[in-house]
């Protein structure tokens, strides 16, 4: 039995399939009508087909109104979106951020000096807003090689390990 999402402020999921993602999302949204999901990704990757199998549109139309899709290509856009979400949310909220590693890489291309600060700012903002009513999940897709962070010369760790070690309460390999 998976622990409820709202019990931890920030969780890292590594390598979930679309089915798993859809199952967790539907589990969260269908358990209470007053819940909303912000799904943030660099591409349009929401597992729609798998989610529709669990929550058909005809019978769960209200649930679909509680899912908001946001596209962010790099960390600064993510920071702006996170700030808006944390200030706007007034009900039980799950923020699911997919492919933050790609956003980080894009931010590195633009400005390699400040990208760590922006990453720190994003994650601290999410932790600051966390409560039983506000939960964050960072999803790292599978089959993608996580590049070691160059900043840490002694112990090279990938971004998911870095966030798992210093920001998240729980990391799950799926």
């Amino acid at each position: 039995m998976d622990p409820p999402l709202e019990s931890t402020p920030l969780t890292v999921w590594r390598g979930p399939t679309r089915d798993t993602l859809a199952a967790r999302i539907s589990q969260f949204l269908l358990s209470d009508t007053n819940r909303e999901l912000y799904y943030i990704d660099v591409t349009d990757s929401f597992p729609l087909q798998q989610f529709q199998e669990r929550a058909p549109l005809n019978s769960h139309r209200a649930v679909y109104d509680h899912i908001k899709i946001i596209a962010c290509l790099e960390l600064r856009e993510l920071l702006q979106s996170v700030l808006k979400i944390t200030r706007a949310s007034d009900q039980s909220t799950l923020v699911m951020i997919n492919s933050i590693d790609t956003m980080f890489a894009n931010a590195q291309y633009r400005d390699s000096q400040t990208c760590y600060d922006v990453l720190n700012e994003v994650l601290l903002e999410l932790r600051w807003a966390s409560s039983p009513q506000f939960t964050t999940v960072l999803v790292f897709p599978r089959n993608r090689e996580q590049q070691p962070l160059k900043r840490r010369k002694t112990a090279a760790e990938s971004l998911d390990e870095f966030i798992g070690n210093y920001y998240a309460e729980r990391s799950e390999q799926m």
């Binding site: 399939t17 799904y39 899912i67 946001i70």
Partner: protein
């Protein structure tokens, strides 16, 4: 409000996916080519990549006010093949440098630009653009440095695909990249890093074939691997996932061959051909959909499943990260009249004989990256090379009518079979 409501995205007519005109392919793409997404289509010359793009326009933009942008990067595409109804919605532009494309994309996203929002952008020859750039960079450097070229390639692609993704999200567009394919076997030292370790180069002096140890275990012969020219080029390396994240699906268009003896005329060595689309799931999302029969799946007789006839659902042979969809184009545009004339001039008994020739396909695919395995490598390779030479003059010169004589069924996928004896 922050973000877009999912209910709005799936119920708005403007968000409906674009149909490819190939039902079995649309099925595997979850209804077609999704909006706000980028797809890559690659394949050898003459397979019909440009025709595929034209068909996409003709099927989806015949009516309505949605606009299409066709970007030619290598050679002029046959715009005359676009239906007259769709033609007025299509804008055409030539771009020959990667920097031009980047600036053009930036201009498209300017607030008060002169361009309408395009619902579909097709970039024909995108890989050529990238490879030209890599070749120029390579010549500037004194020593060939694949690692440097790979880094440059990844950076360029991340930059370009980021812009495209942004445009696609703003304008609710679909972007299609039509790329070449390339043989990678000449770069032996990189092969093991790119693929699983079952592949090895056949030391026959030509470096054309790859031996697949997994396939050999199943009594298959040497194979020839083709990859997208975005992956297999002067800048090969192992960090392609950095830019592949922006692609929703990669679709390889290849030829498949019928060479089973029972379907051949006595004394004939002709190989019948059809097209297959291999849908690669770059993000591993198909992992739980099905298990490849080649991964050891057997039926009650201890043999791999043999699937025949129209009652069989597609896909017939798939793996964790790819699905193979046999297909054929409808008659090439402009060739309908010719086909009709042929039909009228053919005696009815010969037409019936042609229909009886329709036979289940034999799948020679043994690996996601494998184009074709050859039972008789020498004679088959001659067939392949002569065929591709003939058909490479124009994307539309490949004659789909050949396939029609073999496969009267509208959905060729219905006729696919596994052969446990190969």
């Amino acid at each position: 409000m922050v973000g877009v409501l999912l209910s709005q995205l799936i119920t708005d007519d403007k968000n409906l996916p674009l149909k490819s005109g190939i039902p079995s392919l649309d099925e595997h793409l979850n209804g077609g080519f999704a909006r706000r997404s980028i797809y890559e289509i690659f394949g050898p010359p003459g397979i019909g990549k440009t025709l595929f793009g034209i068909q996409l326009i003709n099927v989806n933009f015949h009516a309505g006010g949605e606009k299409v942008l066709w970007i030619d990067c290598n050679k002029a595409s046959p715009m005359s093949c676009i239906d007259s109804g769709s033609e007025r919605n299509v804008s055409h532009v030539f771009i020959h440098k990667i920097s031009e494309l980047l600036i053009f994309l930036q201009n498209l996203m300017l607030p008060d630009n002169e361009y309408p929002p395009y619902s579909l952008i097709i970039v024909d020859g995108f890989s050529q653009l990238l490879n030209n750039n890599l070749n120029v960079i390579s010549k500037r450097r004194e020593k060939y440095d694949p690692f440097y070229l790979h880094t440059v390639k990844c950076k360029n692609l991340v930059l370009l695909l980021s812009k495209m993704t942004k445009y696609a999200h703003i304008n609710n567009s679909t972007i299609l990249l039509l790329d070449d394919s390339m043989n990678t076997t000449y770069q032996q030292h990189l092969l093991s890093a790119l693929d699983n370790s079952t592949l090895g180069i056949v030391a026959d002096g030509s470096n054309f074939f790859v031996s697949d140890s997994a396939a050999i275990a199943q009594r298959r012969r040497n194979v020839h691997t083709l990859k997208s020219a975005l992956v297999a080029n002067a800048g090969m390396g192992n960090k392609d996932s950095k830019w592949e994240i922006f692609l929703k699906y990669r679709i390889g268009l290849f030829w498949d061959f019928l060479n089973k003896k029972s379907y051949m005329k006595k004394g004939s060595n002709k190989l019948y051909r059809t097209r297959v689309a291999i849908v690669y799931d770059l993000h591993g999302n198909n992992a739980e959909r099905g298990k490849s029969p080649r991964d050891g799946e057997t039926n009650s007789n201890g043999k791999r499943p043999r699937i025949w006839g129209n009652s069989t659902p597609v896909p017939q042979y798939n793996s964790e990260d790819h699905v193979v969809v046999p297909f054929q184009f409808p008659l090439a545009y402009g060739q309908q009249e010719q086909e009709q004339e042929q039909r009228e001039s053919t005696p009815p008994d010969l037409q019936a004989a042609n229909l009886q020739q329709a036979a289940p396909l034999h799948s020679p695919l043994t690996h996601p990256t494998v184009l074709t395995s050859f039972q008789n490598s020498v004679s088959s390779s001659l067939q392949l090379s002569s065929f591709t030479t003939n058909s490479s003059t124009s994307p539309t010169s490949a004659s789909p009518t050949d396939d029609h004589h073999l496969f009267p069924s509208a959905n060729a996928a219905d006729d696919v079979a596994y052969d446990s004896d190969v």
